[in-house]
């Protein structure tokens, strides 16, 4: 029994060490686990058209809103040249709550880090224009014809944020 306790404790320390490393020192999220500060080189200039980013399945996003830097691998879409973060509620709201507290984020692409500002997209028309491209990219479903909201649907929420360049100092 004593040996079992020691083995359990060693496993716990190992697991704790791994989670601590992943959260603080891994240079970003590990698989789907949130991480800390993103590793990369600050980009010399920002693209004016982010469409090239769509080749990546996920976008690495870091928020420094709270005490510890928090980074996550998130769904996204570059639409009309701008990056849009797509945060489904069923993945939790860890990033959303941080963005609502402080919209400044850092994104990583090809080893380069870009500063951006996350602006929530709530306008019906803007959301409507994103619907078909988001459904095609994320769920591989092509829609056509009329689209109408399902009355009383308990659909998962999708929080959308457009990333803009930060204001010039």
């Amino acid at each position: 029994m004593r040996r079992f306790a020691w083995v359990s404790l060693a496993l716990a320390l190992l697991a704790g060490g791994f989670l601590g490393w992943a959260r603080l020192f891994a240079g970003g999220p590990v698989a789907q686990m949130p991480g800390g500060r993103l590793r990369g080189t600050p980009a010399a200039e920002r693209p004016t058209d982010w469409s090239f980013a769509n080749r990546e399945p996920y976008l690495l996003v870091e928020s420094d809103a709270w005490t510890l830097p928090y980074s996550a691998s998130v769904w996204f879409l570059a639409h009309r040249g701008r990056l849009h973060l797509l945060l489904p509620s069923f993945f939790g709201d860890g990033l959303k709550r941080r963005l609502d507290d402080d919209p400044r984020v850092r994104v990583e692409l090809d080893g380069e880090l870009y500063d951006q500002v996350a602006v929530p997209v709530v306008d019906e028309q803007a959301l409507g224009s994103l619907l078909a491209p988001v459904i095609r990219r994320q769920f591989a479903i092509e829609i056509s014809g009329a689209v109408r909201p399902v009355a009383g649907a308990r659909a998962a929420e999708l929080w959308v944020y457009r990333l803009d360049d930060p204001p010039a100092r």
Partner: protein, 167 residues
């Protein structure tokens, strides 16, 4: 059992955040715990559950993850985005026997990959109703790997059929 042993076990489970009994959020897990219920004739009740757990059989270990599901025409379907990279998908292709945890109950079944390439797919429409909250006139599931330059996810759909009767 000594308090140190209990503490050690609890700490392990808490820190691993996955435990031996199924996934916890984004953390994959092991075997789902519990006896299986009879297979439902109609899976429509799953509409109330946005996330379910699926347990597949790997070569050495059971592997369970949290996934999306949709019921269409009484049958249950589960989807995998970027499917070829997912361990549970590879396991299900090699051995279709799966267990599902839906609303705290366990069900057994066989995951059968379906090629839902109809011009208007009831599964795709049900998916959009459940997860996007929209009714669309036409919904076509794009199957197979995306063409070069096409940035859509590769989504595989599995229908959950009743388990094979023991021989």
């Amino acid at each position: 059992m000594r308090p140190a042993a209990v503490l050690g076990i609890l700490a392990t489970l808490a820190l691993c955040a996955c435990g031996p009994w199924g996934p916890k959020g984004v953390f994959p897990g092991g075997p789902l715990r519990g006896a299986a219920e009879p297979t439902p004739a109609d899976w429509s009740f799953t509409e109330a559950h946005p996330l379910i757990a699926i347990e597949t059989r790997g070569r050495w270990f059971r592997h369970s993850v949290t996934i999306l599901c949709v019921a269409a025409e009484g049958k249950l379907y589960v989807m995998a985005r970027h499917a070829p990279t997912k361990r549970w998908v590879q396991n299900a292709i090699a051995d279709p026997r799966v267990r599902l945890e839906i609303g705290g109950r366990i069900y057994e079944g066989r995951a059968v990959r379906v090629d839902d390439a109809q011009d208007d797919s009831p599964v795709a429409r049900a998916f959009l109703r459940k997860y996007v909250g929209v009714e669309v006139e036409r919904a076509r599931a794009l199957t197979g790997p995306p063409a070069p330059g096409d940035d859509r996810a590769e989504v595989w759909t599995f229908r959950i059929d009743p388990p094979e009767a023991p021989s």
